[in-house]
Point group: C3
Chain length 201, copies 3
């Protein structure tokens, strides 16, 4: 189940990478490279930090899903722009799954609680961060939207559930993900923003 | 043999890093750092992804070749600009060797076929990608030239040869490299470009 | 002792990351992420290159010090700008400790002498380099100031001392760090600059 959702997240992130690359006037191969880095970059950094084998290196299905998402992003890029809201749903599902996968993987390697939550956020958001750095933009997660906060809170929620012995239950997985999806969706609908540093106090 | 060619590639990439740094008005130490990252960055990312020890960390000869290339790049930077075509030959030899080294290393660690080809391309091109990101430019391989495509095709060619049992033969090594060199040279001579994403269809 | 100084360095680097983020108009979470990357990025790259476990992943005290430094940077950002000189002292102590920690860690994993010195410099300066790349600026260490040179020379000094059998002595630790601090302070006071590449010869 989690694996199916994980592939949906990879698919949505690959599309988002290809669309960003199209906006920056990259060539086709550049688009595929950005799609790969957007979809797989967060998990790669997580695995490097955990000093374990990189997950996608041995997963043909992950690679094929990314290639598929990027190809669909390229072919249907005009339609996808008008479907932006639909796409945003995929992307939101993506960050919710990636967060939980990251926290779980951290816990299964005996990471500190705080580190496990960070790993969840990193899995969900650092692919997009690499995409923005490579496209020579200030990363989106630093500036505009409530994007990483739902991951941090949802990851903490999952962690607490795990601490109280519910770690492998289906309801905890689903409620954590629904928490992230709901929070993110509300943030988009109501244009919630984090305060800038200079606005603090 | 492959090792000699590998050092030629490192040498050419170190020069190219120093020349880029000079164009961006960096100081001397900045030039050396960019030269190191250009020459060794691709192999470093490959080894991180494979979760094996980083090759150059224990290779004094690789480090000295990079220092030598960067120094020569700094001293002769004006002459080297007029010799640009000569330099481009070194660089082309460099990507051809780096690609094959990367594919071989992937295969020897039992990577998937598609992953091994990616590792070849990453070895050959991600040093230049890091160079461009650090110099605050959109990476060259995303925009202008046929640069990574010969690596992908040449790596696939090598892989097929390996699959048919020719993996350690001299002729396969040479024909793969000559394929990459020829393709890249033709692309430069005839200004072949990849289509941009927005030009697709 | 070294551990206390290491935490002072982390604290100063976290403040510096938050102040840079404030200047770039990032939001609060972006400020914390930049603070983490500035403080922990150099050590992370060092540990990745050594293929060992990342130090901060299992160190609650390091994480708390970074969170504390970033929070203080955010709250007192106006005062801290007028205290810039004081802050620069922390930062200078930081690079001196980070350099020695990096060289020691390299030696304890049997790195080459030259690689150990590089690891010292990387530990001290690559967190700031990542900070600048993420904020879409050309890294400071490439352009403006004598910043990495004291690390390279101080690291070499420590290495020579270690070679002559003084590796674990208190005086070598202190004299290496004081060397770095003094060199860096003189460079700031007298505005020493490295020549640009194009000024060479």
């Amino acid at each position: 189940m989690l694996e199916v959702l994980d592939h949906i997240g990879l698919f949505a992130f690959a599309i988002s990478g290809m669309l960003t690359a199209a906006n920056r006037n990259l060539d086709i191969l550049g688009g595929y490279i950005i799609a790969f880095i957007t979809a797989l970059g967060g998990g790669t950094i997580r695995d490097l930090l955990l000093n374990v084998d990189i997950a996608w290196m041995t997963s043909l299905s992950q690679l094929l899903v990314v290639i598929g998402g990027a190809t669909i992003g390229m072919i249907f890029r005009k339609k996808l722009r008008s479907w932006r809201r639909t796409l945003s749903i995929f992307d939101t599902v993506g960050i919710s799954v990636f967060t939980i996968v990251g926290v779980q993987k951290g816990l299964s390697h005996d990471a500190l609680a705080i580190t496990a939550v960070f790993l969840g956020m990193i899995t969900a958001t650092f692919g997009g961060l690499l995409r923005d750095v490579l496209c020579n933009e200030i990363p989106l997660i630093f500036k505009k939207e409530i994007y990483a906060i739902p991951c941090l809170l949802g990851g903490t929620f999952y962690l607490l559930g795990d601490y109280f012995g519910q770690g492998d239950t289906t309801w905890l997985l689903w409620s954590s993900m629904i928490f992230i999806i709901a929070f993110r969706t509300l943030a988009v609908l109501f244009s919630w923003k984090l305060p800038l540093i200079r606005e603090f106090k």
